[in-house]
């Protein structure tokens, strides 16, 4: 019993402690963005992972949640309505829910590629509307507001980033708990059923269109909450939040995290946001690394990071993980050698073609060298070759070890 609820106790403690340890403005911003991304990715996984609906337009509901929230904030500032800031995310959620109902009924009639294409078309339409309706969307500049409202339940001013982080963290816990519970309800289960077997579901009495539609609407609700939180965090909402790019980001993070498990998108959102925000200031090749990570996941780990972890669950339970560990460590070592080889090659190339002064020496891990000299090239190719030749037998060995363990575990039954 304690074990079952331990995650739900540990997570809030962690959320309270973290900003006390990492208290720089950027760290707070990053953690806030991570929490928002988690809600957004989990809401996306209600579609992709649980409902089998691949959407390219989920940011529409996120964006509408954001726009309505920022308008609500401005209305409160102008003393037209009274909503405490703590409840603004709920406004965003209701907005997301409303637009999901509006757009969802027609788009959930079909699943699969048709659904994906409709979502793609809708997002383009909404983006086109952003520029056509500047009085709502604020045109290119977007709509900004001031989150320091006169109304607050808690009496917190929300001027400081860390105060906003705690608000976001609170909503993160609420939204995550609700979304988790939703998977345990009849609708959540039937969404799984529709995903697994849309052919059979009508013959147990369910209208698959409506199952998808309700799932879609709820997912829009949570995306709207995330959007409302984003509006509070940045105090500005503009077209980039509603567009195809934002939808693409949430797809990437969810898939990298793993669509097959509830906690997958959490891993994905944390890792992706971290990489997305930090790589950009470390390397010019950030986009490339993210793209490679995505492709590697698709090619070799279709269930994402969560999938990789869960494959090991039975081994871990059987107490056999230590059998795998040595080979894994070897693979990690060889993998790192290959990775560093590739990394040097990529960085050298980026430096040569995209840095502002390619002829100047570049720095990598504290070592300074000239990109257009031969040693880094030779070194990187040597590393990659060495890594490759080390990896091949190790991967074979891992395969053999797995076969062995599977037999042991089945024998044990």
């Amino acid at each position: 019993m304690v074990k079952r609820y331990s995650v739900w106790i540990a997570a809030p403690v962690l959320l309270i402690v973290l900003p006390q340890i990492f208290d720089s403005g950027f760290a707070i911003t990053m953690m806030s963005e991570m929490c928002i991304a988690i809600i957004f990715a989990l809401s996306y996984n209600m579609l992709l992972g649980q409902g089998g609906m691949l959407s390219f337009g989920h940011a529409v509901f996120y964006g509408f949640g954001g726009f309505i929230s920022i308008h609500a904030i401005n209305l409160v500032t102008d003393d037209i309505i009274v909503i405490p800031l703590e409840l603004i995310p709920l406004v965003g959620g209701i907005a997301g829910f409303f637009f999901a109902i509006l757009l969802g009924y027609i788009s959930t009639k079909k699943a699969g590629t048709t659904f994906a294409l409709i979502s793609l078309g809708l997002v383009e339409l909404v983006v086109a509307c952003v520029l056509l309706f500047p009085s709502f969307f604020g045109g290119e500049e977007g709509v900004s507001g001031d989150r320091m409202l006169d109304y607050s339940i808690t009496g917190i001013g929300f001027g400081k980033g860390v105060e906003v982080f705690y608000l976001i963290a609170f909503w993160l816990m609420v939204a995550t708990a609700l979304m988790y519970l939703q998977t345990q309800t009849p609708l959540g289960r039937m969404a799984n059923a529709v995903r697994d077997n849309p052919e059979r579901t009508p013959f147990v009495g369910y209208n698959i269109h409506l199952v998808r539609f309700f799932q879609f609407a709820l997912s829009g609700f949570f995306a709207g909450i995330a959007g409302g939180l984003l509006a509070i965090n940045y105090e500005i909402v503009n077209s980039e939040m509603i567009g195809a790019l934002a939808s693409g980001h949430v797809l990437l993070m969810t898939y990298i995290g793993g669509v097959g498990h509830f906690f997958g998108p959490i891993l994905g959102a944390v890792l992706y946001t971290f990489l997305h925000l930090t790589l950009v200031n470390i390397t010019m090749a950030g986009q490339l690394y993210l793209g490679v990570l995505f492709i590697i996941i698709i090619l070799w780990a279709p269930n994402g990071m969560a999938g990789i972890l869960m494959v090991h669950q039975p081994v871990w339970r059987a107490g056999l993980f230590k059998e795998l560990l040595p080979t894994y460590l070897m693979a990690l070592g060889a993998g790192l050698v290959t990775f560093f080889g590739a990394l040097i090659l990529v960085e050298v190339n980026y430096h040569l073609s995209l840095s502002i002064e390619p002829d100047k020496p570049m720095q990598l891990f504290g070592v300074e060298f000239l990109a257009n000299s031969w040693p880094p090239w030779l070194f990187s190719i040597a590393l990659m070759a060495a890594g490759y030749f080390m990896l091949r037998p190790i991967i074979r060995k891992i395969g053999l070890k797995w076969d062995e363990l599977t037999q042991v575990m089945q024998g044990g039954k």
Partner: protein, 315 residues
Amino acid sequence: MEFYVISLLNSLVFGMLLFMLSSGLTLIFGMMGVLNFAHASFYMLGAYLGYQVSVFIGFWPALVIAPILVGIIGAGIERYGLRTVHKYGHVAELLFTFGLAFMIEELILLIWGRVALNYQVPASLDFTIFKLFESDFPAYRVFMLVVSVTMFVALYLMLTRTRTGIIIQAALTHAEGVGMLGHNVPRVFMIVFGGGSALAGLAGVIGGNYLVTSPSMAILLGPIVFVVIVVGGMGSLTGALIASLLIAALQTFAVGYDYSLVDLLTLFNIELGSEPLFPDLWRIKIENTGPLLPYLLMVVMLIFRPKGIMGERES
């Protein structure tokens, strides 16, 4: 009158360029069920390779070499990438091409840099072929038309007269059956994917200098190609042709109409108050809806006729 004739000609040129792009995509979708998000990236690759080859040995060899290179790259990606994810289903395949589009753009940035290329129309085609009313009609547009029509005819002949073509046609309608007849389906897939990529590459070579060759060209043209194949009917070449021309015409001609809802109301002698509800809605002119129309068409089509104009089956 002048406006209509010129617009008609121009929409024909642009429509055929669109068709060149979408024909490959629709064939790939029809055969393999893969919605290739990276298709416009092959178009971009074609433009860049076309530029590079034409810098070395001139435009005319580039016209042949660049599409072949793109085709080989495409076939390689099918063989070593797409085939691996095939077993995980269409969603994984689609996401793979999604990631691929991302990677191709990064690689192009890496090789050719961020700045748009100075890729110009070759001197031998850079003249005015005829005068239409007062406007000059550039020879290059005629050339583009010739290339795209030639390509259409060649593709048509290939599909109806050659063995591979007939297998492809059969696979378009009865994907499962072809494998049973003992054909090497993976190889056919590779040929189709490579061929489709090559067509996109060709569109890039002749479209890159006519339009702009820059790292964002794929993103700018990508979504519209999807519209074409959806509206035309996935897997249908004729549908893609009709839809390409239709969408090009739609976008070209919408420019000519600067009426808004206010004008419509004025027609009925209704005057709008000074502060109407939804102030933006009333001022939108037809000409501004140009980019919106294709997507509207696509969504409406998907909802009411998912088969598209000429499609044989739903996606």
